[in-house]
Amino acid sequence: MISKEQIEGSVRAASIVCFILAGIILVRLFHLCVIEGETYRILAENNRQKVIPIEPHRGIIYDRNGIPLVKNVPYFVAVLRPDDYNDSEIYEISKLLGVSIDEIKEKFKDKKFQIEPVVIKEGLSFEEVARIEARHSDFPNLSITTTSIRRYLYGSVGSHLIGYLGRVTEEQLKTLKAEGVPPDAFIGQWGVERIYDKILRGIYGKKIVEVDALGHELRVLKEVPPKKGEDITLTIDIEIQKAMEEAYKDMAGAFVVLKPDTGEVLALGSLPSFDPNKFSRGAPSGYWKELSENPRHPLLNRAFQSQYPPGSVFKIVTAIAGLEEGIIKPSTTVHCSGGITFGNRFYRCWKKEGHGIVDLKRAIVESCDVYFYEIGKKVGVDKIAKYANLLGLGRDSGLNFVSEKKGVVPSSEWKIQVMGQPWYPGETLSVSIGQGYVSTTPVQLARLIAAIANGGYIPKLQILKSKDIQKPEDEGESNSYRSKSLKEGQVTEPFFSVSNENKVNISEGTLKFIRDALTGVVNEPNGTGGAARLQDISVGGKTGTAQVISKAIDTHKLPNRFRDHAWFVAFAPTSNAEVAMSVFVEHGGHGGAVAAPIARIGLERYFKQDSVRTAEAEINTASQGD
């Protein structure tokens, strides 16, 4: 029995407890609603809003003649929201999509509580899409998302240059997220696609939809349209690129074709190459692995990333060194009897019988080794190195397209630094004919021959032709050469790229002599470069055969990996050259036999198109002497 007094005490206590509890709740409410109110308001908004990125149209890449190299193709993906489907529903879905029931169950395995839709099938055809859309009311949780994939219209042609797209990596997302790139985006990962990705990509739009807790999209709250990516035009001529790549058949190597006056790259290839279409969304994965494990290294861009002894092409440098240093004159003669002895070694000439008495021009035309041994002996390796460096060897092109090898220009200083040994004079002989320690990349030799052809300016490489989206440095150049061409008195001089920074300190007379001699290489009888001869255009060039092993055995008889490398550099027409190139064939054998014909194919392709232009050029140069 409880008394009144007791109950009153209890009531008082209980009321106090009541107030205390209410007070606690009130304080907490105040904290949530008033103090943290804004935070929670934002969280509530985040709950119900989902941002869906809208993919922009990726810019098209054109070659210099307006031929499209890529295409954006729509790509359809069927997605299904995870849910508790009964067996008949799964059966129906499986029938509709043509995907086995087990596959569907596999995809749902760990996703029971996920609300995001799961990809069931990719790369649907138009019929499949139509079929699925028609049954939408039966399967409201099954929907189609549309995206696009890149199709490379020329397959593996120019793939090193053009590049490909790949899924954006976590590392890249760190910076790209701020630009609105979503985590499942495909961006340029190689080549031009990568370097100009920002321009090509455009800007992602977004659709802000209201969603409920189950992920259903209820309505669109806001939509920001995407900004289309810009098209770009490259300096590449895809016809030249294709013709030359095909000429390699299944040989490995690289070639670089450029306009010596502007540095525009007309073609740049590295073989073996790869098919960029195999990297696209929906392609079976493992292609990358396959490529990187391929012993022929198709992912290596040999034009920039491989260096080899230049062989006889290097004789151009030795000759220039000799002339500029006054050691020899064009009329200087040497007697070649098939080799010379120096020190305790016999340095042979490739022609065992010897060339007889030869002057400089003849030595170049017939590529006599002995003549150059003599120059080398007298000039010394360091002087040779000086001119090699002047002509752009030993450093990279500055294009920053891919990581580049710098090649090797040996000198006495170099040898001490790198190998800790002094230079032995006998080694100079090897260097003078482009063997021994000297090594060059195809790009370096292309720039070298371009400098010879354009009167002594090492061109800055340019891949982007379109004026609207020039890189800032390029803009200045193009304007400057335009204006230069209009100035008085400039017509007689060949066009030169860039400013005087790139002018090499070699006398015009020397350069002209070399050009003449190189013309002889191609056109004179006994010239080693006859295979590059063209019908109406005069071509100049130099063969090179770089030994892999020094054996006297005929290179054809050796197993492939011991065969000599084949080089050929060329320019045409010989006065006011419009095109210069280097061609390299790994283990190709003789330069004249293997590399020169490929160069000819490239030249033919160039001039066939440019018959009109050549006529114009000839009219322009009519007033010039040579």
Partner: protein
Amino acid sequence: MSKIFDRLLHFDWLIFSIAIILSLLGILTIYSATRVPVYEGNIVSYGSEIITVSKGEGTTTVTSAISSFRLDFYERQIIWLLAGIVVFIGILFIDYQWLKRLAYILYCGSIILLIVVLFIGKKSMGASRWINLGFFSFQPTDLFKITFLIMMAAYLDDIKTKLTASVTFKIFFLFVLLPVLLIFKQPDLGSASIIFITFLCIILFYGAESRFIKMAIIIGLISLPFLWPVFWEHLKDYQKNRIQAFLSEEVDPAGIGYHIKQSKIAIGSGGVTGKGYLKGTQGPLKFLPERHTDFIFAAFTEEWGFLGATIVLTLYVLYLLRGFDIAGRSRDGFGRSLAFGITVLTGIYIFINLGMAVGLTPVVGVPLPFMSYGGSALVSNFAMAGILANIRMRRFEIFY
């Protein structure tokens, strides 16, 4: 005649109106929180009742019919409210002494129902708490709450001696242990705990000897480490998860923290004045779970803000104070105990639920009296309110 007039005079308008107001606010909130978001004719629904397909821009909307017998939550709650009012008024006509007389029968009856529900209870979310009577279903626990309090009040009223330890244990084993276990087995951890806690409060506030209290606390604390693992063992996983999630925000095995988080978001985003009626998003977009039952307060606060929440809190406090006042001024022991018990029980439900909504107490799934959707709970609360009003009304009658 004058008796009726007298009674009308002492009709407890405060209890009645607070109960009605809270119920109406509950109905309004239930309506808003369970509404289907409809925008300019694009009906989208995803529940088991309506099967629709709708896409935004202009594709066809196909709606298939819903069973016309199924009423919306708020519609059902209105019906329950009317039933509750009828029960309230009806109780006022009985003299509450009858309750004392029928205490044992009522108590045994509800125990039987508690046993029955374990066997034939309608299984919903793994719990068998309801008995389905065709047209409607009710929870025996809601009935038991009342009969238990009546039982306690009746028994304690008849005790001649002071409340000793042995008496307390006797009461516990006779009247508390079995039903609490039965309820716990449903499983309904929340209600079982609350009934047990109410029991303790009643004992405590009955002014048990202080020595006894100290001893009880010591015994309790000592036995806790031993009893706890046993207790823990019998908890269902989700119950364990709830406690774990409450204790540590990082440990959240099954996303129970989600409930608390969404509730806080709903409450906090209401700000000072709320988003406005029908403008809340946490409910209709289904972010807030149990938005019409356990978390009704959060759904309410989202739309009515801090001010609205404070008003509701005030109403509840007034209700409880009035209940205690009735207990204090009741003319007999039975009335005092009964009123006190009812108020304590209701108060515990209120503060645990509000605590849950603001993230101060573990989520144990107890409804908010008068506001939460739930027929038997609503009627049960109105019945208890009716008893309170009854006790108050009759204290002025010296002569029976």
